[in-house]
């Protein structure tokens, strides 16, 4: 019995040691997310970003990370949320409007006006300054203009999950990026400055389907793209 206890102890200890090392050190887990702006806001980032959370609510967050607010929640599938003006946002709601025009939400009164939204939100990789942004397969964030490509930031990413630059800020100084960690419950929204000097995670637990950035005096991005055929809501 003593011999068997010794054998079981050694095998159990090896198994436990390996498992604890893997769990505690997060071996093989990637964590490319920049520091949280919610915990440590950066007042240099201007404007407000509207997006969907995983509970189906539309959230407006200060781009600096200083504050955020749920402005509309729906049991239906809401997607393609965008700014229209300083006090109005538009979104699409599944089955709400067969014509596919969506809904306007007045942020002052919280009243909704069905069927009056102007179109669909599509990713926009080109800024007002004509700079284009992309991410290569190694996780490098690339900005290009006039045939010159600059790597402004690099992220340590897994093979099957890559950040996706969704839009530039209306002033062309910031990039809003979507990232979906493997098997995580919801995505993340990152903000990176045009030079890559400032990086932060604005939100986690984000549902796909679009985000939109408003800056006073500059308007909103991405531009609304009126289409005859509505894009499919993101399954994420």
């Amino acid at each position: 019995m003593r011999d068997r206890l010794f054998v079981a102890g050694v095998i159990g200890a090896v198994a436990l040691l390996v498992a604890v090392a893997v769990l505690a050190l997060s071996i093989g887990r990637y964590n490319p997310s920049p520091p949280s702006l919610e915990r440590d806001p950066d007042p240099a980032i201007p404007g407000r970003v509207v997006f969907m959370d995983r509970d189906g609510c539309i959230v407006i967050a200060e781009a600096s990370g200083a504050s955020r607010e749920d402005v509309y929640c729906s049991a239906l599938h809401v997607f393609s949320v965008t700014w229209v003006d300083e006090h109005t946002i538009a979104f699409m709601e599944s089955t709400a409007d067969p014509a596919g025009r969506g809904t306007l939400l007045d942020l002052r009164t919280r009243e909704t006006l069905p069927g009056t939204a102007p179109g669909y939100v599509m990713p926009s990789p080109v800024s007002v300054n004509g700079e284009a942004v992309s991410v290569d397969s190694d996780g490098n964030l690339l900005v290009s203009k006039d045939g010159r490509v600059t790597t402004i930031a690099s992220f340590d990413i897994p093979r099957n999950a890559s950040p996706f630059p969704f839009t530039w800020s209306p002033d062309g100084e910031w990039i809003l990026i979507e990232y979906y960690p493997p098997r995580a419950d919801g995505g993340e929204l990152w903000i990176v400055s045009r030079t890559g000097a400032i990086k932060g995670t604005l939100a986690k637990g984000v549902r796909g389907g679009g985000a939109s950035w408003w800056i006073d005096g500059h308007g909103y991005t991405p531009p609304i793209a009126p289409t005859a055929t509505p894009p499919k809501p993101s399954p994420r």
């Binding site: 054998v7 050694v10 095998i11 198994a15 498992a19 769990l23 897994p158 493997p182």
Partner: protein, 311 residues
């Protein structure tokens, strides 16, 4: 193999032993050998296992059909209750004087290892724990229980339980990284198999015959699986080293099971290697010919070794 009575008759005829000595040997063998009917599994025992297996499959199918309608606590209980019952049944049956009932108790305990892994996995899923984490927890829990049951009852089913639990844990560790990692999981299977194999050869982990087969298989198959990761050609070559080590162990210990495992892993690794790296250049037919020739060579080596052992 001739019976002891036949052997005694031959030895007496040859004048090697006298009749009183032959009678004393026969008497000794009769008293020290257990009754075959009591110690060997019978057809009734086989039907018993078959019946339990069929009823178990039916239960799981019934559960599967209604799984979506069950509340979380009911899902966990659906596995936890059979777990408690199999543990209790094993405990009671092991106290029996009937060898067949004792064996059934060991099988019940082996099943309890699988049920514990399932219970932890379902609980983890229902508690919204990341699926990569709860697979490791399930493997750890199953390994702990399997080892405890083996300490109490070092039997064949418990060896299988320990091996299965270690493979589950290794799979959980391989699935833990964001990029599912066959290299990591395969190396873990080999590590666990090799550690257990050392204890088998030290005579501390028994039953040794089954231990050699299953832990040797883990040591060989794990490193082969690790080599399936496209990024590391060196690990593919390690499968050949593992096969060679098993063949060397076979010759050193005079155990044929290691020879079979060693040759098998080298053959499978070689076929995989040829197809992966040379099929494009030499073509599939030539790759098949080389693989076939390798198989024949492996069979000849095994046959030669077995012949030497028998001689």
């Amino acid at each position: 193999m001739p019976s002891i009575d036949e052997q005694l008759r031959r030895w007496r005829s040859a004048g090697l032993i006298d009749e009183p000595t032959a009678n004393r040997i026969a008497e000794f063998e009769r008293s020290s050998t257990p009754e075959p009917s009591a110690s060997r599994p019978g057809i009734l025992e086989a039907f018993l296992y078959l019946g339990v297996a069929i009823a178990g499959v039916g239960t799981f199918v019934l559960l599967g059909d209604n799984w979506e309608q069950l509340r979380p606590w009911a899902r966990i209980l659906a596995l936890a209750a059979p777990l408690a019952l199999t543990l209790l049944a094993g405990l009671v049956m092991r106290a029996s004087s009937e060898p067949g009932v004792v064996r059934a108790g060991h099988v019940a305990w082996m099943l309890s290892v699988a049920l514990l892994a399932g219970t932890v996995a379902v609980a983890g899923n229902e508690l919204d724990i990341d699926d990569r984490d709860w697979l490791v927890y399930a493997g750890l829990a199953a390994t702990a229980l399997a080892l405890v049951l083996w300490v109490v009852a070092p039997s064949h089913p418990q060896i299988l339980g320990v091996a299965a639990a270690l493979v589950l844990l290794a799979s959980g560790i391989g699935a833990f990284p964001d990029d599912h990692n066959v290299l990591f999981g395969g190396v873990m299977v080999t590590l666990f198999g090799a550690v257990a194999l050392v204890f088998v050869e030290m005579g501390l982990l028994s039953p040794a015959a089954l231990g050699r087969a299953v832990f040797g298989l883990m040591a060989a198959a794990g490193i082969y699986a690790a080599g399936l990761d496209d990024d590391y050609i060196l690990v593919e070559l390690l499968a050949f080293a593992a096969g060679g080590a098993l063949i060397a162990l076979s010759i050193w210990r005079g155990l044929f099971v290691y020879m079979i495992l060693g040759v098998a892993v080298i053959f499978v690794a070689l076929v995989t290697f040829i197809f992966e790296h040379f099929a494009d250049t030499i073509g599939a037919p030539l790759a098949l010919i080389i693989s076939g020739a390798t198989l024949v060579a492996g069979a000849l080596i095994v046959a030669r070794f077995r012949h030497q052992r028998l001689a």
